[in-house]
Symmetry: C2
Subunit: 397 residues, 2 copies
């Protein structure tokens, strides 16, 4: 088939996210030996940059892995078979904690909240109180990519602290999109990956681990090797810093460029940009009569979920957008398949990405038989972007 | 300044035009020696591909130069100081023919038509009739990038043939965007460049020269060296083909990829795509009350010019779009500065580029004090794109 006017591809998912050109291009440079000074300089600079984005004084331990590898590192280093731990989930990624705990034979209490709702802190508090032995860890999610919900990590960390339980937060999609000041909020472990708001290719997983959690890991006999925090921490604390296994050097080079861009933009400005894009997406879907999926939370700025109209075959929407229009967006996962669409604005996204997403969403909905005015969603998003992005109008002559 | 939500750059001019990623990326490959078989294969394949896009059996002579270098090659090879030639112009690029003829001391008849109008064939006919000696050449423009007008090359070629005059057409921005079947229309010389609808970086100029024009060049004593057609033709006709001077090898590699993409899309589909994008742009500007610049010609599909509202400071519009929104568009040139804006859809452009251009145009106009509804231009363009690009709606469940 000729591509016709839909000849370009737009990656509009929450990960892998689109890469800034400078981030892509650096991978074309000659590969570096990972013990050469040229690489060590990049590696050390990126490790320092990660600490600023994680808003922490901890070492951010890095693994050549996906984000799920870093999740596993937390379970392997903190839990013990037969010992209690609590998982609070409200979506597909939250459930991954439960799958990991099951795999490790943990005596797990799994608090399952409805997809699209927020984890209820009181329920977590009660669950931790009702255990006969202290939980080794509380596993929760920051931005739940499957629903767009951003959970109240600050309150959950307070509850964990009250019970002297280590809290581990999956911030794979949220890190660098919405704030998570680890040290200020007293979060013991924050896990993330390179391929979302950090605007880099997939291939690096991170675990920012505080001293308390590192000590717990050192005292924990659960078998692990590749994902061992103590070994990784020792390597990274060497001078020069050293990765215990060959690091994914091209991904590090990309990450170094991306972190430099975040630094230059300023973390607060990065969060403000995500907030403005999310407001625009919310205004856009409302303008064509779609209801937002999830609570009305103006801090949920990573992914905007929208209920699809009942009269269309919702499962076909992402396929129409991708195959007919060139726009890759995510539909619903699990039991939400065909029920929702998810508009990402996580990482290297800007004003006109939302315009394209809204225009493409309208086109696809119309093709599937939903009636809406061409340009209504794009126009509503545009008005929000105008209000957010422009200072004073410069005025007439 | 923080880039905020306008963090991405959109190149939306009629040259250099945006490059497809595969075209950009091939330049990162190791440089090739221009006499190595690996390069000769690319060079010969691209020369063959050029003939298909030029719709000609002629050799398309190639120079490491801008398009203007290829224009100069035509004047240097065909004209003689003191001998007559006719230039018919209606814009900045048409005037370049006159500047070149002046530089070469040609006895020039310069027919100047108002910018934004079409060259009148009858006036050209009369001018050629009124000369006391036959004109060495008639120089005209195909797509006049400064105004968006596409001239009637077919009729102008008929007139030149009637007077036994060689016609030379500047198709720098039009080649590969709107049809110009050189052999079918009997055009002696067609000049173009790599950086417009051929979706490649600047650096290569082309002159497709028929036998009659090549013979005229061989008989012409006007001094030239680098741009000599006979020398270039001899080199390209060798086996293996040979460029008389070191070719711009990275640009050739890009051009080879780009020509392959045109081949794959199909030339007729490429023209249909440009036509659909132009219709969308015309509908968009009309929806916010802007008048089209130039005649109402549905074949002018390279650049859409729009009169700017009188009440705004039009010269600031391209600056606001670029500096505030990240979109590089062209304003008016020469005496049209501040009076018009030019929306390009020439080369690697697709549906959502027009959506972005329309949304950005609205935003910029509003910032400058013009009242229009957010999303009106984008919506009108979207409706045209829906009608143009989608087959049947797939329908409800």
């Amino acid at each position: 088939m000729s591509p016709g006017i839909y000849n370009k591809s737009y990656l509009m998912t929450a990960g892998p996210t689109p890469l800034p050109p400078a981030v892509s291009q650096v991978m074309a440079e000659p590969i570096l030996y990972h013990r050469a000074p040229a690489f060590i300089e990049i590696y050390e600079r990126a490790l320092a940059g990660l600490k600023r984005v994680f808003q922490t004084g901890n070492d951010v331990l890095a693994f050549s892995s996906s984000g799920s590898g870093a999740l596993e590192s937390a379970v392997a280093n903190l839990t013990t078979a037969g010992e209690p731990a609590v998982v609070a989930s409200a979506g597909k990624f939250g459930e991954r904690w439960a799958e990991l705990c099951t795999a490790y034979g943990v005596d797990m209490t799994h608090l399952e909240f409805d997809w699209g709702t927020k984890i209820d802190p009181e329920t977590v508090d009660e669950a931790l109180s009702s255990l006969d032995r202290p939980a080794r860890a509380l596993f929760v999610t920051h931005s739940e990519t499957s629903t767009g919900v951003v959970h109240d990590v600050r309150t959950l960390a307070e509850i964990a602290r009250k019970h002297d339980t280590i809290i581990v937060v999956d911030a794979v999609s949220g890190m660098g999109a919405v704030t998570l000041p680890q040290d200020e909020w007293g979060v013991d472990v924050v896990v993330s990956g390179s391929q979302k708001a950090l605007m880099s290719p997939p291939g690096l997983g991170f675990a920012s681990v505080n001293e308390r959690a590192l000590e717990a890991a050192a005292a924990n006999a659960t078998p692990r090797y590749y994902f061992d925090w103590v070994k990784t921490s020792k390597g990274q604390r060497k001078s020069p810093a050293d990765s215990p296994f060959t690091p994914a050097v091209t991904v590090w080079r990309s990450l170094d460029i991306a972190l430099g861009m975040i630094e230059e933009e300023g973390l607060e400005n990065v969060f403000a940009r995500h907030a403005a894009l999310a407001r625009a997406a919310r205004a856009g879907i409302a303008a064509i009569g779609l209801e937002r999926f999830g609570p009305d939370d103006d801090g949920a700025n990573v992914v905007t979920g929208a209920h699809l109209p009942e009269e269309i075959d919702g499962a076909r929407l992402p396929k129409v957008m991708r195959d007919d229009l060139g726009i890759t967006v995510a539909g619903g996962q699990g039991h939400l398949k065909g029920k929702i669409v998810r508009i990402a604005h996580c990482g290297y996204y800007g004003a006109f990405d939302i315009i394209v997403a809204m225009s493409g969403l309208e086109m696809a909905l119309k093709r599937l038989g939903y009636e809406c005015e061409a340009g209504a969603a794009a126009g509503a998003a545009e008005q929000v972007l105008i209000d957010a992005g422009s200072p004073e109008p410069v005025g007439k002559t």
